[in-house]
Symmetry: C2
Subunit: 183 residues, 2 copies
DNA sequence: CTTGCAACCGGACCACCGGTCCCCATAGTA
DNA sequence: TACTATGGGGACCGGTGGTCCGGTTGCAAG
């Protein structure tokens, strides 16, 4: 990739973040993103393929730290801890991520629509949660339960819940769900 | 309401159903609906206010039977039965409804977007589920759990699950969730 | 049956969206 | 410096949800 291409890529990503933060998921069109990044619309599509691709990549970027933390040992997040503790820790982190990136979560959902189950980030999360559930409750349909649990981080639901109680409410409610599910 | 208005209203509703069935949620635009119903686009908007309104009203129509069944006594659905049985019966019915109206569920979701929590039909379901959960598990955040549980009927998730196992898979998985939650 | 008007209808019209395309500019290299 | 593949820009396209207003029509009163 040429140097100017890399620079533009970064500019587009940063402009998207800013617009998301400033105007909410609904009002971020690719025209606006391109204008804010100081590039043409064609450039946005060349780099990210589509609206979906743009938000997927932005989410992936924001989620890398969590993904890495899950695979490195030590602490309740990583391997070694019992599944219940790992899952409780994971949903806690996810809640924090959702709070800090509510608009991105919302935009990502709308953009991915039915391809939700093919998004790499979602797939990683699902595989992780699903494995933990399967380990703790062998009889259960773990894949389905994992989807249902991850559904708790639907941007609209998260906003709705956090509007009355903040992240702490979201965290404690999801943890309650996890405990009920795995106990 | 004038007779011709009532006739058109019905024509629009039926045309929407047919298009939904024939082409899937994605390809039902209000232009098409109007054309298929044999009316102008303005008529569609006057009757239903917006795309959202149209799908909300269609869903409400399809859901009336279930709503009534829930409130009439007798059978595990209605009042009198213990909450676990009532909830198990309710999610079973909901799964059937989702299967028969997958495209409508999908269109409704996309159209309602963030107003999901203001849709009258969803609100009724949520109140019902929430009350049953609160009755069976006083300590739990019933409102949140109800949202999470109803999230299982997200059209994309339902399609994904039913693609491999049909309605029965959906039913048994959701029932598994309900049992884990209320036991 | 006629008449009058309020309610209703239709579809041209609008702003905007995601996505495409192709000609031009430029970075990187020999 | 000169050459070329890669990247950039923005006009353009089909289609969308939503608006608006001039013409039409149901319907009840007389």
């Amino acid at each position: 990739m040429r140097a100017d291409a890399a620079r533009n890529r970064e500019a587009i990503l940063r402009a998207t973040e800013e617009l998301l933060e400033a105007h909410g998921a609904e009002h971020v069109s690719l025209d606006r993103v391109a204008a804010a990044a100081g590039v043409g619309k064609g450039t946005v599509f060349r780099r990210f393929g589509s609206r979906t691709g743009l938000f997927q990549e932005l989410l992936a970027e924001r989620a890398t730290a969590l993904g890495a933390a899950v695979e490195t040992a030590g602490s309740p997040l990583g391997p070694g801890a019992p599944p219940l503790e790992r899952l409780l820790a994971f949903v806690g982190e996810l809640a924090d991520l959702a709070e800090r990136n509510l608009a991105l979560f919302a935009a990502h959902e709308r953009a991915c629509a039915e391809d939700k189950y093919r998004d790499p980030t979602y797939l990683r999360w699902h595989a992780h949660v699903s494995a933990l559930i399967a380990e703790a409750r062998p009889g259960m349909d773990a894949g389905f339960a994992a989807h249902a649990l991850l559904g708790s981080f639907d941007a609209d639901l998260a906003r709705h819940v956090m509007a009355d109680g903040g992240v702490e409410r979201l965290k404690s409610s999801v943890r309650g769900l996890v405990r009920a599910l795995l106990t």
